[in-house]
Symmetry: C2
Subunit: 241 residues, 2 copies
DNA sequence: GGTTGAATACTTGTATACTAGTTAAATTGT
DNA sequence: ACAATTTAACTAGTATACAAGTATTCAACC
């Protein structure tokens, strides 16, 4: 049953998700090379859906194809990440201004206020779920502005940044700060003070950006270390000429 | 010589360009259905590169696939176009603010000033080239802000809007206005007056947006008319029961 | 040891064969 | 004449075969 179409999700989708996960979980490290055949064998699929998945990941900036010479996981480009964060801030600030100019407050805002109200600290989730909550806070904020294309692009950027943002809430002080900052932003929005909200939001993102950058670099060093050790372990004894 | 790889451009690229052109030139109308096989036969390519091109066009929002039931040119969604214009304005305004905050004026600005200086009306190009010039004005402006991701997204949006923006400069008054408005924006930027520049730019885009919308709707009606006539011509004599 | 070069194993790009699902026409029963 | 049902043609999804270019290996040579 090689032709395992699960009715709903296509083979190409499954390969896409699997590869994306490999990249996100650092099983495929930035710089790693691999071939379409490898992936196909590993995930029990033919090259056709593998290619489709790879081209999709290429367009999203995760991998690149070397003409007739295999594929490579794109190295993390910190300058690019800076740019993505910058763009994220631009979009979210614009969204805030739009929301404040709306004739009436979107219902989504009230929902967010309920979630991020610091008066209900008992409902605070732990690290792993806070990450998802934080991402959806920013996504929902942009969505509330009512521009679907802006929301789409913002989601694309969030996807691209998730690989490093997920390392944020590993410390409790970041969780606490996030709750306070989100509540602050929402409060300014409800007062209609777009300028203050936008400034608070920009500061909020910059802080998380800085925290995450340090952790990421450390993690990559660790992963590379493990990688090298695993390689050495498979070799009988390294040549030393 | 079915396997006509021209060394530099792949078959998939050629198919992609050809299809995009078909859509832009209204040879494929919004709503038209077609199959991978059709395209392959018409462009003398196998289904594999055709599929790659189609999936690319799908991701860019020009076509959609109906499960095991063919492809369709996505109908023009005017709400989406409004959103794209809106997003374009957001990005370009942000770019202007960034440029004005830069320590020194980017050289690209001086280049633009030279091109769009109304004191040199002799160099004004005619309609078709002005369209390309206008697009590159806005792209260069964003690029000058120095955020490559922002420039990339802006280019993507410009691509998406080109199909209708190309109908702008069909009247001389729009050409004249464009020159004046661009010069005005650049002037404000050079004075460091980001607010004025941003406002002028937003107005400039809105004007062109409105002009283009009317022309587009008319053109689509015309194309649909021609389409119907061609269909009727091929039929011997329509059944009338 | 160091360099060159041909053979070879891999790689992606493309074509084609086959499968599963959809659609619309043809056929049949009433 | 019409509705329901069968069937045949057509569709994209997938697997595989082949072509064309790339990287690597390894032996021959200096």
């Amino acid at each position: 049953m090689t032709t395992a179409s699960k009715r709903k999700t296509s083979m190409a989708d499954r390969v896409y998700e699997a590869l994306k996960d490999d990249i996100f979980e650092f099983r495929l490290l930035p710089g790693d090379k691999f071939s379409e055949g490898d992936v196909g064998t590993r995930l029990d699929a033919s090259r056709t859906p593998v290619r489709e998945a790879l081209y999709r990941l290429q367009r999203e900036g995760y991998v690149e194809v070397l003409f007739r010479s295999g594929w490579r996981v794109k190295p993390l480009d910190f300058e690019q990440i800076e740019d993505l964060y910058d763009l994220r801030i631009t979009l979210e600030k614009a969204a805030i201004h739009k929301i404040c100019e709306l004739p009436e407050e979107p219902s989504a805002i009230r929902t967010l206020v309920a979630i991020w109200n610091p008066d209900h600290p008992s409902e605070r989730a732990v690290g792993s779920t806070v990450r998802a909550l934080d991402e959806s806070f920013h996504c929902d904020l942009v969505a509330a502005a009512g521009n679907r294309e802006m929301a789409r692009i913002h989601r694309e950027i969030s996807d691209r940044l998730r690989i490093i943002r997920r390392l944020d809430f590993t410390r409790n002080d970041r969780v606490d700060a996030t709750y306070k900052e989100h509540a602050q932003i929402l409060d300014a929005i409800r007062r209609g003070d777009a300028q203050t909200a936008a400034d608070d939001l920009a500061r909020h993102i910059r802080i998380s950006q800085k925290a995450v950058k340090e952790i990421t670099m450390e993690r990559i060093r660790e992963a590379a270390q493990r990688h090298r050790q695993a390689e050495n372990a498979t070799e009988g004894s390294p040549d030393q000429a």
